[in-house]
């Protein structure tokens, strides 16, 4: 069950890499967070720790409900064009994401001596989600995609932390959640200001002068 949820996280990161529209990107981020929530909840049910239930609840409230809602509101406010602006087309992006997964598999098999098993798979998935997040940040023109890329990276890091060290201390976890939430709000306001100043949110054209 847990492994299926992990593959849900991985596949939704592939979907995010392949998508061309901003609303689809946010919706898929919501699904990814939902899969992450279900994976955490499955672990919590198995281990019966109150802290894990709390973390799963925070995931549900902040990443599945609050952040996508906030991003949708920004979109509704500034009405950007639906097009994300791909530097690399969808097919090639998917190929890149696959090669990231392969790279992280190679890395994991060097890291862990017996490279099979659930832990190896979890670390591979976590690394490839982080790399997919970086890829979304780098290769998309629209400023909102940078926010979502960062959030995807954070999802991957959450997975990594929960596999490598068996979860961070509870207070650190809570602090991270609030940091993420606040940073999304700040970046959202930032995007809003960019839009007001430049009348677009294309990061490719930010350095050109406005006359």
């Amino acid at each position: 069950m847990h492994v299926i949820m992990l593959f849900g996280v991985l596949l939704s990161s592939y979907l995010m890499v392949a998508t061309k529209r901003i609303s689809a990107l946010i919706r898929t981020f919501r699904y990814q967070s939902l899969f992450l929530f279900m994976a955490t909840f499955a672990v919590a049910l198995k281990e019966r720790q109150a802290e894990l239930y709390a973390i799963a609840g925070l995931l549900l409230v902040i990443k599945v409900l609050a952040i996508p809602h906030f991003l949708y509101r920004i979109i509704k406010r500034i009405r950007p064009s639906e097009d994300l602006g791909l530097f690399i087309n969808a097919q090639l992006s998917l190929a890149c994401a696959l090669s990231f997964t392969w790279l992280s598999w190679v890395f994991t098999s060097r890291l862990i001596t017996p490279p099979g098993g659930t832990q190896g798979i979890m670390i591979t998935v976590a690394f490839s989600v982080v790399l997919a997040g970086i890829f979304i940040m780098v290769s998309r023109m629209m400023a909102l995609a940078q926010i979502i890329g960062l959030l995807v990276m954070e999802n991957g890091l959450f997975l990594l932390a929960s596999t490598v060290s068996g979860g961070m201390p509870f207070f650190v976890e809570i602090a991270i959640f609030f940091d993420v939430f606040v940073s999304v709000i700040i970046m959202g306001i930032f995007v809003y200001r960019i839009n007001k100043l430049f009348t677009h949110i294309d990061v490719n054209k930010l350095s050109s002068l406005k006359g």
């Binding site: 492994v3 299926i4 593959f7 592939y14 969808a90 097919q91 998917l94 099979g116 190896g120």
Partner: protein, 306 residues
């Protein structure tokens, strides 16, 4: 005896194939708060077409006349390869999943030729689109087969359902094959069966010149093909281990199980059709590219053994 079982089984499969399209249309219409045609409408259409006369263009060659027979016989041959109710009673030892895909491709090849044959611009357009889509769908389907082979050690279709337990690799492979199925059965994100609007058709454009009995044969062939693809997805996604004994209770259970899982797939297809808009033709490349990525993931999962 065995031949009789094979014939009966295939007849059952063919007889239940058109009802699937009727069901999908019914589900879609009910979601749209409409009444919709009867579930048996495909049968009425076939009966009507079989009783009508046929018009063939003067410029058409023998390919145009031979194509309906080629297409329907390839569909029938493919249907004989799959174990429907009695696993021992099919011709699965004559060909595996790969053979099935290539037999279906033979029918498609002739269909594309016949689209070009009459020289109408729609037919040529439909043929070129069909070839474009199939060239993208086939690699994904083949990789799905390889991942299943890695899991079960056989490419026989009866081997896939035998595990009794759904692994991650099977799940991902099933999703990939579902996307391929949507493309192969010309369902909505890829093609639209409901309209004859010239800009959107693929399959309908190729059969536009046919009428009467030939059209009935082509439609029947596409119903059978649709049933085959749904059955394959169902076989991968809902595996159940069944004892090989052939008493009546077993047979009844198999029949029920056959209908139940095909209905689940059909309902999923209807939901996909109702909730998505048709894609631009060049977005199909992304759609099937994603199916290809999924099938690679399935292969990797099968190698990892999860």
């Amino acid at each position: 005896m065995k031949i009789l079982i094979i014939l009966l089984q295939t007849a059952f499969f063919i007889g239940t194939a058109p009802i699937l399209s009727g069901l999908i249309t019914k589900v879609k219409n009910n979601i749209r708060m409409r009444k919709g045609p009867s579930v048996l409408q495909p049968y009425y259409n076939l009966a009507k077409l079989f009783s009508k006369g046929e018009v063939v263009s003067d410029t058409a060659s023998w390919i145009f006349r031979a194509t309906p027979f080629m297409v329907i016989s390839s569909s029938l041959a493919a249907a004989m390869l799959i174990p429907i109710l009695v696993p021992s009673g099919s011709m699965y030892h004559m060909g595996d999943f790969l053979a099935l895909i290539f037999i279906l491709t033979l029918g498609r090849f002739f269909l594309a030729l016949s689209g070009l044959d009459t020289g109408s611009s729609f037919g040529g357009m439909g043929s070129s689109r069909e070839m474009f889509i199939s060239s993208l769908a086939e690699p994904a389907a083949c990789l799905v087969i390889f991942s299943l082979y890695l899991q079960f050690g056989a490419t026989n279709i009866s081997a896939f359902g035998g595990a009794g337990r759904l692994s991650v690799a099977s799940l991902v492979a099933g999703i990939a094959l579902f996307l391929v199925t949507i493309a192969e059965t010309s369902r909505i994100p890829v093609d639209n069966q409901e309209t004859h609007l010239e800009l959107t058709m693929t399959h309908e454009a190729m059969v536009l010149e046919y009428s009467g009995r030939s059209l009935a044969m082509l439609e029947m062939a596409s119903y059978i093909k649709q049933m085959i693809w749904f059955f394959l997805v169902a076989q991968i996604m809902f595996p159940v281990a069944m004892p090989a004994s052939g008493d009546i209770a077993q047979l009844a259970f198999r029949t029920l199980w056959y209908f139940a899982r095909i209905l689940i797939i059909a309902a999923a297809v209807a939901l996909v059709e109702i909730s998505l808009a048709k894609m631009r033709l060049f977005r199909v490349a992304d759609f099937l590219g994603f199916a290809f990525v999924l099938s690679i993931v399935a292969t990797v999962c099968a190698i990892l053994g999860v």
